[in-house]
Amino acid sequence: MSMSTSTNIAPPTAPPVERENYLNKEYGVGSWLLTTDHKRISLLYLLSITFFFFIGGFFALLIRLELLTPAGDLVQADTYNKLFTMHGMVMVFFFLIPSIPAVLGNFLVPMMIGAKDLAFPRINLLSWYLYVIGGIMMLHCMLTGGVDTGWTFYTPFSTAFTNTKIVEAGLAIFVAGFSSILTGLNFIVTIHRMRAPGMTWSRLPLFIWAHYATSIIQILGTPVIAITIVLVAVERTLHLGIFDPKLGGDPLLFQHLFWFYSHPAVYIMILPSMGIMSEIIACFSRKRIFGYTFVAISSISIAVFGFLVWAHHMFVAGISVYAALMFSLLSYSVAVPSAVKVFNWTATLYKGSIRYDAPMLYAFGFLGLFTIGGLTGLFLAALGIDVHVTDTYFVVAHFHYIMVGGALMGYLGGLHFWWPKISGRLYPESWARLAALTVFIGFNLTFFPQFILGYVGMPRRYYQYPPEFQVLNVLSTAGATVLGVGYLLPMIYFLWSMRYGKPAPDNPWNAAGLEWQTQSPPTTFNFDKEPVVTWEAYNYEELDTPQPGGPH
């Protein structure tokens, strides 16, 4: 698989039309499917997760259509159960968890630290294949009947009662989980061992710190969900009693094991997004990030604290009140590093020369939506309020503010920010701003009414509801439609820009960071010669001093 055997990085002698880069170096299906170039693998991931994003989105659309009217009239109750289950499973395991690390992280981690590739390029390719195999298994499972337990597949319903395809869905997630573990393993080794000379830990971009923290969760959390899935599959096929109380087992053990991974998994989604925020906000404020060290360490502390709060998903499940008390307290502790980040980003904006390009619009959206999502998370960490709103739309709204308002806004912001580097083309700025605005409006219209719905008592996972909830549900469905348009727009103009977009300069944003100091798109080994770093991260004051005019 050593296809990069003879790459002579020739000295730049007046490139004729288009410089050689990782995209035009080789053509043909084989050169993509057998590539070990982290940038090509990143694009393979981009394609495949976009595919699953639209599948998950399609399910979401059907859910919202069903909820347009109080009666259950569009689909059967069974089908509705399957819709929200498959929406959750696809979005969590096949879109959100791989999204930023596998696409942007894969592309940028080596470039930002001045490396030629990730430490283990072939393992990187293997991780994509595992993802694809898991994805095909999931597709097969969906096409042959799907699952109806909710994405949490709680026992004993999943092991002793439902007659849907639990084992197949579980195995699909098991395989995709190993893809996630391998990505995390690769990042940690790469960040430790592959940094360019002078790229000390205190000079690392915060994107790298965020991915380091994410990787810790991936490698320590994912194996636990893997073994949990094995136990569920064994219990279901052999009718054992590991989690089934009728046979002496403990369903709470399942919930503990499940949330031990699945709560930190939320930080797998949000931490990389926070990394993107630090890059975008510093760049478009033209300032060094405020309190660099604190923002870096807060990523690590979120990863660490994130492992200690899982049982706040189980406050009403019958755990000890003293345990609940501790988990409630610990859950509050996650708010501290999260708030450190939000305050430091805000302080970075202060007296910055802010530019309102599309990535920055997403960053502003992220700041507001993540704050709302985080603060409502504190409501849920409080024992009394949690009992009141457990399993209502309040919870649904809360985690969508984090996963969609936070993680997805960050992903889109990052995709716009680095698109010129990835594709070598500029995207159409005014369309992108319109899309960012559409996403923001559509998102709030979809999910804010759900906070109210949940607070006044509409439970989640029901396909019909009392008529007095209809107005808010109609607002939510209307918002989902706007949101859908907002997601389609970038896909269209990104594709358009690949052919018709203006060729991107090497550093269109005049951004700091090693990835901008090489050509767009980069060559296979990223840099003509190994970079030597002698400056601190986000040295925007320095960058802007010699040419006070700035770009554009």
Binding site: S2, S4, I181, D250
Partner: protein, 241 residues
């Protein structure tokens, strides 16, 4: 600054060409040391994921052992501690031969290296064979969880007149089979790995300067051994003190 050049063929006149460039150095690493360190760190992280993977099972085991201690102790007496003990000895010996294999590579003793790798694999196969006998016994005694499971009138050690609850004993056996089964699967993967190492050693790939795959394979093998070191007392020796 290294020349970015990869050659996949092993030059026949390795002695002369050796100081020029190690053919095993991959293009994206600057030095051999960086490549070795990366492999080693990657392996340790992989082992950390393995610890978490088995950790979920150990967690389940500890909870049910606490809940159903008497039943677990009764069930534990029915598995053959002598065979389990033998297997422990076999695995410890195999760890020794792995270490000797690496030493042989470090000191350029190709013949010894091959012998040690073969011995390691023989020990591995012996372990699996003995394990197979144990499984066969359990199968014949109807101790395999499922429809034909039976565990009636087995006394709880230390509590005369009390009998183990078959349902709770079944949880023990379920965990026994899942944990030892998963361990055996790791052994089989290890044997596959060592077959490849043996082939590479036969071809003379390993030198005192370059034997990273051997060290990585060794780390994996030791890890699988250590898992057994925990499984043996937890499963076989609950009430044998």
């Amino acid at each position: 600054m290294s020349s970015s050049h990869v050659s996949t063929t092993i030059p026949a006149e390795a002695h002369d060409a050796h100081d020029a460039h190690n053919p095993a150095l991959l293009h994206h690493f600057a030095t051999e040391e960086q490549q070795r360190d990366s492999a080693s760190l990657g392996m340790w992280i992989f082992l950390a994921t393995e610890v978490m993977f088995f950790g979920g099972l150990f967690c389940a085991y500890l909870i049910y052992r606490g809940w159903y201690f008497g039943d677990f102790a009764a069930a534990s007496t029915s598995i053959n501690a002598a065979l389990g003990g033998t297997n422990t000895a076999v695995l410890i010996c195999s760890s020794l031969t792995v270490v000797l294999a690496i030493w042989a590579a470090q000191t350029a003793r190709r013949g010894l290296l091959i012998v040690m790798l073969v011995l390691t694999m023989l020990f591995g196969c012996a372990f699996l064979g003995i394990k197979g006998f144990e499984y066969k016994d359990k199968f014949e005694e109807h101790h395999v969880p499922g429809a034909s499971f039976s565990f009636d009138h087995v006394p709880i050690p230390g509590h005369p007149g009390q009998y183990a609850n078959p349902q709770h004993a079944q949880i023990f056996f379920a965990l026994y089979f899942i944990m030892t089964g998963l361990h055996a699967l790791h052994m089989i993967i290890g044997l596959g790995l060592f077959t490849w190492l043996l082939w590479a050693a036969w071809k003379g790939r390993f030198t005192p300067e370059y034997h990273t795959p051997l060290e990585m394979g060794g780390l994996y093998w030791h890890f699988v051994d250590i898992v057994w070191i925990y499984l043996f007392p937890l499963l076989y020796l609950i009430d044998r003190h």
